[in-house]
């Protein structure tokens, strides 16, 4: 087995299989939650559900994260807030605007868009890696967090960190032959895809469901979400 063969395998059948497991797993998870049952919302309708939803996203995703002192996020949890925030930003930009990843999206859904300049993506990738390391050290040293952290969380961290670090090394052509590090990148991505439905990283999808539902409920009651 040489590495160009491993690369072909991991870009081909392995990635294919991981995607299938990912899709099946996520639909399963979603359905289980949906079928847990819906309480009928008998509240009298006082406001717009749509507006509530929009407001919920605006506050939760666009406004509040950038004025963290309002909810004392800073005072209680500055490190988690900053490192976590940068990590998510980095992940989003790298996956949505890195040239290599846009080609992945194109091969999967047929649409493509303009990448951001590599230096920007690259810089953010480094920020993401540093954030992940900061979060890890925090978890390892914080007396309470340490007790709360069980195996699944370590797995979460690892499967997210591996694609990041291998991608970064690959882009910079450090230490490895390209086909070797590319294979490692692909294998770690496949691990991530398979793990997501099994663990809490599935929040990347559920987050949007709960945000929408809570927003709509608040909107119906005409209260601020």
């Amino acid at each position: 087995m040489d590495w160009s063969e491993i690369l072909r395998f991991s870009r081909g059948p392995l990635f294919h299989l991981s995607l299938i497991i990912f899709i099946a797993g996520m639909t399963y998870r979603l359905l289980r939650i949906v079928l847990l049952g819906w309480e009928r919302d008998r509240t009298k309708r006082q406001g717009s559900k749509l507006w509530g939803t929009i407001l919920n996203y605006l506050r939760g995703l666009i406004i509040l994260p950038f004025i963290p002192w309002v909810r004392r996020t800073f005072r209680n949890n500055a490190l988690t807030f900053i490192a976590g925030g940068f990590f998510h930003l980095s992940l989003f930009v790298v996956l949505a605007f890195g040239a290599a990843h846009i080609l992945v999206w194109q091969s999967l859904c047929g649409i493509s868009w303009k990448p951001l300049p590599t230096p920007i993506v690259d810089w953010l990738a480094a920020v993401g890696i540093i954030s992940l390391l900061v979060l890890l050290i925090n978890r390892l040293t914080h007396p309470v967090l340490k007790l709360l952290t069980k195996l699944p969380i370590w797995i979460n961290w690892t499967v997210v960190f591996l694609p990041f670090i291998t991608g970064y090394i690959m882009t910079h052509h450090l230490w490895f032959r390209y086909e070797v590090i590319f294979s490692l990148h692909m294998i770690s991505v496949c691990l991530l895809l398979i793990w997501i439905p099994l663990g809490r990283i599935s929040h990347f999808l559920f987050y949007f469901f709960s945000k929408t539902i809570h927003g709509a409920q608040a909107g119906k009651r005409a209260v601020t979400p």
Binding site: L7, F15, A24, A100, L103, L108, R200
Partner: protein, 389 residues
């Protein structure tokens, strides 16, 4: 009678000593001898220059016999050599430095067969076997038969007396086009079949002529095959990727990509990664040696590298599909089935849960009918609320 040395042969053809020394310098450069350690290893004499090493070999050695076989191929590698615009060198190697039996270039037929057999007999143990095109092992090799003999027999027969085997082109090295999925003839590389002789691969589609002839020369001069990588490719020529030496590399680093073959980026010479360039994973000398006497090479001329020196480059997705794209994107049917499986399992488990809940409710109502304090109903099991990371 003692055989004439190469130098004597060239001198008889009218080459002056001065031109001969110049030629030796060129040959040393072409073989990449400057960089290869054997020169120093040979340096029992106070460090001869590479040109001196070449000159010494050419003045003492007779012509190197070469037998050139073709199996499943397009003769493109031979074409590349015979059409190479550096006739002085490639032709010189094949005409004046080596004696050759070439199946295609000689008119085929029983005479050619006979000439080959005589050549094999006369130079037993001394000749270099060059193989172009892939051997095929399916059905005992009947898919490639020359003069009534299967390619497997021909290969076995010819390697038996060879001092070394050079597989030129991707087909002979790794199976090439004939070996592309689904590989009906079970084409494979020469090295997959020949285990008892030194084999070296010069993959490419075609192989770069200077690399094939350079390797032949290396063998003639050093008496052994050059150092190779894990795919048996000579390190001097396959030690770096196209990407390593690419002149578009600064654009790659800056993230400036041509989006199509005729857009502004293409005109400005931007990186061809998004147009399918396989340069980052392709080890070959194109970017360093260039083709046509250093005139240009594909990426320089505006075409993405196809990865032609790598095993199975035909099966690495489309030539114009970027290297990070999924090789087997799931079709919508597969996606639907996957989602369906998720839904089915989810619904089934939800059904089981609902039934359990129903039973629990019933039990509860019966308890309240009997009155509090009586047992009989299990509390809804805690294990059902899942924990996750």
């Amino acid at each position: 009678m003692k055989e004439k040395t190469i130098y004597e042969h060239l001198r008889d053809k009218g080459l002056s000593r001065r031109d001969f020394m110049k030629l030796c310098g060129t040959i040393a450069g072409m073989m990449g001898l400057e960089f290869s350690p054997p020169v120093k290893a040979l340096g029992k004499l106070a460090h001869p220059t590479p040109a001196e090493v070449v000159a010494r070999a050419l003045t003492t050695k007779p012509k190197l016999p070469i037998i050139w076989l073709e199996f499943q191929d397009c003769a493109g590698c031979s074409e590349a050599i015979s059409r190479s615009s550096s006739p002085s060198l490639a032709k010189l190697v094949l005409n004046d430095i080596a004696i050759e039996y070439h199946e295609t270039l000689m008119a085929a037929g029983s005479q050619a067969e006979k000439a080959k057999e005589e050549c094999m007999e006369k130079y037993r143990g001394k000749y270099v076997l060059v193989v172009e095109g892939s051997p095929t092992v399916a059905d005992d090799g009947i898919y490639c038969v020359v003069a009534g003999k299967s390619n497997l027999d021909l290969l076995k027969e010819a390697t038996a007396g060879a001092a070394a085997v050079i597989a030129t082109g991707n087909c002979a090295s790794f199976g090439g086009i004939p070996g592309a999925n689904p590989n009906p003839t079970r084409a494979c590389g020469v090295a997959d079949l020949i285990k008892d002789k030194p084999v070296i691969n010069i993959p490419g589609c075609p192989a770069i002529p200077e690399v094939t002839t350079g390797t032949i020369l290396y063998f003639l001069i050093m008496g052994e095959l050059p150092k190779t990588d894990h795919l048996l490719r000579p390190l001097t020529f396959y030690g770096h990727t196209i990407h390593d030496h690419c002149l578009r590399r600064p654009f790659y680093e800056a993230g400036k990509f041509a989006e199509s073959f005729d857009d502004e980026g293409a005109r400005k010479g931007y990186c061809l990664y998004k147009l399918g360039c396989k340069g980052p994973t392709t080890y070959n000398a194109c970017a360093a040696l260039k083709w046509e006497q250093g005139l240009s090479y594909p990426v320089q001329s505006g075409h993405p590298c196809l990865g032609c020196s790598e095993p199975h480059f035909w099966d690495g997705g489309g030539f114009y599909q970027g290297q990070s794209a999924a090789l087997i994107p799931p079709e919508s049917k597969t996606t639907a089935v996957a989602a369906g499986v998720g839904v089915a399992i989810g619904a089934a488990l939800a059904g089981v849960n609902a039934a359990k809940k129903g039973r629990a409710k019933k039990a509860l109502t019966s308890i309240s009918a009997v009155g509090p304090g009586e047992s009989g109903a299990k509390p809804i099991s805690q294990s059902e609320s899942k924990k996750e990371g």
